[in-house]
Symmetry: C2
Amino acid sequence: MSVVVQKFGGSSVADPDRVRAVADHVARTWRRGTQVVVVVSAMGHETDDLLHLAAQVSRSRPGREMDMLITAGERKACALMCMALHDLGVEADSLTGSQAGFHTNATHTNAKILEVRPNRVRAVLGEGRVPVVGGAQGVSPARDVTFLGRGGSDTTAVALAAALGATACELYTDVSGVFTADPRIVPGARRMAVVGFEELLEMTASGCPKPAMRSVEFARRQGVTLHIRSSFTWEPGTWVREEDPSMESAVISAVTHDTSEAKVTVQGVPDRPGIAAALFRSLADHDVMVDMIVQNTSEEGRTDISFTVPGEHLELARRTCEAHADELGASRVLADAAIAKVSLVGAGMKAHPGVSATVFEVLAERGINIEMISTSSIRITCVVRTERMEEAVAALHDAFELERPLV
Amino acid sequence: MSVVVQKFGGSSVADPDRVRAVADHVARTWRRGTQVVVVVSAMGHETDDLLHLAAQVSRSRPGREMDMLITAGERKACALMCMALHDLGVEADSLTGSQAGFHTNATHTNAKILEVRPNRVRAVLGEGRVPVVGGAQGVSPARDVTFLGRGGSDTTAVALAAALGATACELYTDVSGVFTADPRIVPGARRMAVVGFEELLEMTASGCPKPAMRSVEFARRQGVTLHIRSSFTWEPGTWVREEDPSMESAVISAVTHDTSEAKVTVQGVPDRPGIAAALFRSLADHDVMVDMIVQNTSEEGRTDISFTVPGEHLELARRTCEAHADELGASRVLADAAIAKVSLVGAGMKAHPGVSATVFEVLAERGINIEMISTSSIRITCVVRTERMEEAVAALHDAFELERPLV
């Protein structure tokens, strides 16, 4: 009998009605003769509420105790899910990460899975019951409770699917799949029936909100087929699988955007070895997460270095650069929160060298200035003004004819 | 080094400020050189909130899943307590019931402790750290999470104190000890410095709200000294220990009251063997909890049987009796919610046969009618009208001079 892992995120189980709706779907899958393993996140915003509670109680918040606190959320959700299944005549057993065999390292708040030994999950399945596993949790070598971090429920689901040899890992969420662009910005955006792992990784890294990038990497490595779909409409969503090398890929699959970052420019630094290293070392020492980095061509021995950081790190980044400005020989530090990243992703890009040129032309025709550029083999990212972002996304979506269904 | 168990109930840890206040007290105890083991209940009304959530999700609510759900409350509280202790420079480790070695039977929602193997608790103490244990939880032989039921945190504390050979088990609550009467009713009510186990058991059985009766029985059996005290004033409270047979006990220690019960009277039943048995069997079959039972003297071969039940069982009890009235040969069934139980408790009562007479005189002088009477060797309970209860309690407290401190 085939096994399917069904993972439900926080919005899918946000309240009692939603828990019952999800249970109904699980019960229908189970009655069709499929062995179902359920993974649930904490209900709605509960994880945020618990973090807020911890902040009210403590300044230090040791990781071991944060994990004991946070994992209470998934525990509640999986117990409630089992109760709702029981009402529908489906016997189900909730399992904590530890009970489900998730052995992790001791890096609290962001633990890594060392091994999955799903003996109890298999035993529950063997009794014709439905195992409901708390997402994002495990147990350390010292037998302490561990949390896999934000988005960790996706990782739990993928790891379980790999360990059980499941035919698919279904990630249910509040969107109905992966789109060629954000449908709020591009009305003609199309849900993709299939997307490759590599493409999805570039998309999640450049603004596509779901699923968690770490779980996509994990699924790719383990060869787990993902199905990203909606727990509100229940329609088929987007399948994620390894690109088939024999198939010709679409040149461009999707346009993504990200307004969560900000830009810092350090002007007039001497163009000599060691300057960039000193700058980014001091930023790293202050735990500033740097994403894109661009260094302009040198003029008269001096250059500008620009980089993007998460919006909430902007002030810290600016202060750090200013504190080191003299030492670096910089003339000025500029901070700019009003930027957006617009990215084109497509596995077929590798074989089509003209894509970048088209991107620049499309934006230039509309007078949209490109402030920074960064590329990978299957992605082109441009930084533009926030207020021109929507126009840029729509224009690129249109120019590459993403609305047209693939044949 | 001596070990003390400190248990904090829901009201003691109801919000972040209270969690920090409790942590401060634990830290002060620890700095005085005492090894402290902390037991915490769920914060405030969280257990009720979780029960309400379960009722919104499910009709069936299987016990195993209820326990997984409910125990999330204590888990959160003990994690937060450790964080607050950490802020104060006291290293602390939260432990679930399972981690603390509470092995229970598999009677979910009301599990019984089979054995306590506090190896991890001892290990944490041995490292100079403070173990903070989630109350009312354990693990079943099948390695499922179990809940010890309402008031189970007191039992956790007492069982840990016994297993560790602690010098005392301090039960912190929102009252400052055990009183000779409810201070809201009798302004001169006095906090007892010491009370015997037997007396406290009779008191908790007849209206004294704290601590949970089951834990007092457990403490008595295990020889654990209890100290019932306030987490709001932190003053010394009431010590509970085995009565010292060489000491002369006070004739009366306290007056308690209970307005949570109601009375049912089945009138005119034939006074012959088997009638009472049939009546109370049918009530038991309907899960009606019967407390006091009184059968009047027979008149012309017919008698009245009165009994008390929890107020919320009154309607069910009345309907059950009415359904069996013909079969029992009863003439009428009366239901009365407006009653109160007033009890006198005192270990010295055994040696003073005149106590009942005094009680009846005191109430008769004030024209307070006694509707039912029930006694044990150290307790006299009278059922009176609810509206006369306060007057009865005050009069008895006065007549037995309970305001006067013991010499």
